[in-house]
């Protein structure tokens, strides 16, 4: 047991949650019924924390493709692309992604986490520099640690601080690789990508990687993410993303115009030394990508739902993130309050997420929700009503009718 003594204080907190019978980190659904409903301990719950942005997990065409491919090509590839061979679907999906993003090259990974591990550890070598937004996802930090580059972080969403860091490196040899996200998964805020792109352009040997994990299918005229929405796709050298959110599957990708891109397939360890995605997942993702492109109504519905929830919670007096997005988080006064609120919502039949430091910025305890295009306006309104009831009961928001005090919106600018 001494191996685990380093986790003793965490283990005690975890046990407490278990004993209270409400552990947000150990939820197991009896069954999932649809993108928005599941059964939990014999009761029906409304799902408001699944990242299932377009609600494609139960799309009949997507399911049909998964079934067909599984029957034809089997359940798994039982090996890696380089050692055991690719199936036709892998290349087809890579070409489809490249085509969708108007890029020359595409590469598929087994998860988005691995896409970041692979790209960041490989793009920047020993004498290069990775410059990360401070609020980057764990997979970006881990990718940076896996490689040999010098890693520094700049203040979240601050083009000025990014500029400072590039200036300090001006006379240092080596390439500079900047990494930012489209929509940040904790507070739902977007990066000032136009400004970042301008900073990047003003320095030589500097490249920009954008992780569109939460913005693919969500932002941009064609759903290509924040780079499209901000009109700076030409300045983005590498787009990474995941199939596990808007595309309703599992897997990750990178697309790029970089010349010689394909050499990455034999130097990127998180691509090389793991099994490739099963045929059913590949076929489902291809179909989901097709749906994403041909059903812009899904994106409009998602945006409407996101605004409805964001505005509704802000009006109740909750402190919400700096801008509406499908990720809608409310700031809790403490982790204990977040646990109590989460448990109270779940008791009433609403499933959300708890996010705590160090995964969250600025030491915030968050009650995190994510919205789907599959939610009906009535479901969103029901969720808001539950937030109101539980929030008032726990004293997190003013009583009905009372004016809310303080700043309802969390400003991120420092």
């Amino acid at each position: 047991m001494s191996l685990f003594t380093k986790f003793a204080s965490l283990a005690a907190q975890y046990r407490q949650l278990e004993e209270a019978g409400a552990n947000p980190f150990n939820v197991s659904f009896d069954s999932v019924l649809s993108p928005t409903e599941a059964m939990l301990k014999g009761r029906s719950v409304l799902l408001l924390g699944t990242n299932n942005y377009l609600g494609l997990t139960y799309d009949p065409a997507v399911i049909a493709k998964a079934v067909e491919a599984t029957e034809r090509y089997g359940t798994g590839t039982t090996g890696s692309r380089i050692a055991n061979g690719s199936y036709a679907g892998h290349q087809e999906l890579e070409q489809a992604l490249a085509g969708y993003f108007n890029r020359k090259h595409g590469m598929v990974f087994s998860t988005g986490y691995q896409a970041n591990l692979g790209m960041l550890s490989t793009l920047a070598g020993k004498d290069d520099h990775l410059i990360l937004d401070a609020d980057s996802h764990a997979s970006i930090y881990d990718g940076a640690r896996l490689g040999y580059a010098q890693v520094t972080r700049f203040r979240h969403n601050s083009p000025e601080d990014l500029d400072n860091r590039l200036r300090r490196l001006k006379d240092t040899p080596g390439d500079k690789v900047i990494v930012v996200e489209g929509i940040y998964s904790m507070l739902g805020d977007t990066a000032p990508l136009k400004e970042f792109a301008a900073v990047k352009r003003s320095y030589p040997d500097t490249y920009l990687v954008v992780d569109e994990a939460h913005s693919l299918g969500v932002l941009g005229e064609n759903g290509r993410g924040l780079a499209e929405a901000a009109g700076v796709e030409a300045d983005v050298d590498f787009v990474v993303g995941t199939f596990s959110k808007s595309l309703g599957g599992v897997g990750g990708f990178c697309v790029s115009d970089a010349e010689g891109f394909d050499i990455l397939r034999v130097v990127t360890r998180p691509y090389m030394f793991t099994a490739s995605l099963p045929p059913g997942v590949i076929a489902a993702t291809l179909e989901a990508l097709h749906q994403l492109q041909t059903r812009p109504a899904l994106r409009r519905q998602l945006t409407e739902n996101a605004n409805r929830l964001y505005d509704g919670l802000a009006a109740l007096g909750f402190t919400v993130g700096p801008e509406p997005s499908p990720v809608v988080s409310t700031v809790m006064p403490s982790p204990e309050a977040a646990f109590a609120f989460w448990a109270r919502l779940l008791h009433g039949g609403l499933y959300t997420n708890v996010s705590l430091p160090p995964a969250t910025p600025k030491g915030l305890a968050l009650l995190r929700s994510s919205v789907s295009a599959a939610h009906t306006p009535a479901q969103i309104d029901h969720a808001i009503a539950m937030f109101a009831e539980a929030g008032r009961e726990l004293g997190l928001i003013p009583a009905a009718g009372a004016k809310s005090q303080g700043e309802p919106v969390l400003a991120t600018a420092k």
Partner: protein
């Protein structure tokens, strides 16, 4: 140069004091994580304040090696001297 070394020390103590929720006695032997209760992100955020003040960038692997306030002062002095 002696003045600069003293400055860095002073800047670090000052920044550390102002970023803690409550006043704590700080010496060079103070252990940043254990004694001050900062988590990994809080340490990185606090180093950012010092980076601004000294106009330097501290690589994450250097931050990971830092255990005490004394380590921090030494790391900053080295980076400043090297830049």
């Amino acid at each position: 140069m002696g003045g600069l070394v003293g400055d860095i020390r002073e800047i670090i103590f000052e920044t550390l004091r102002s970023s803690l929720p409550k006043p704590v006695e700080i010496t060079e032997n103070t252990h940043i994580v254990e004694d001050l209760g900062l988590d990994s992100v809080a340490v990185m955020d606090f180093v950012m304040e010092i980076e601004d003040r000294l106009d330097i960038s501290v690589p994450l692997d250097k931050i990971a090696e830092i255990e005490t306030v004394g380590d921090l002062i030494a790391a900053m002095q080295n980076l400043r001297a090297g830049s």
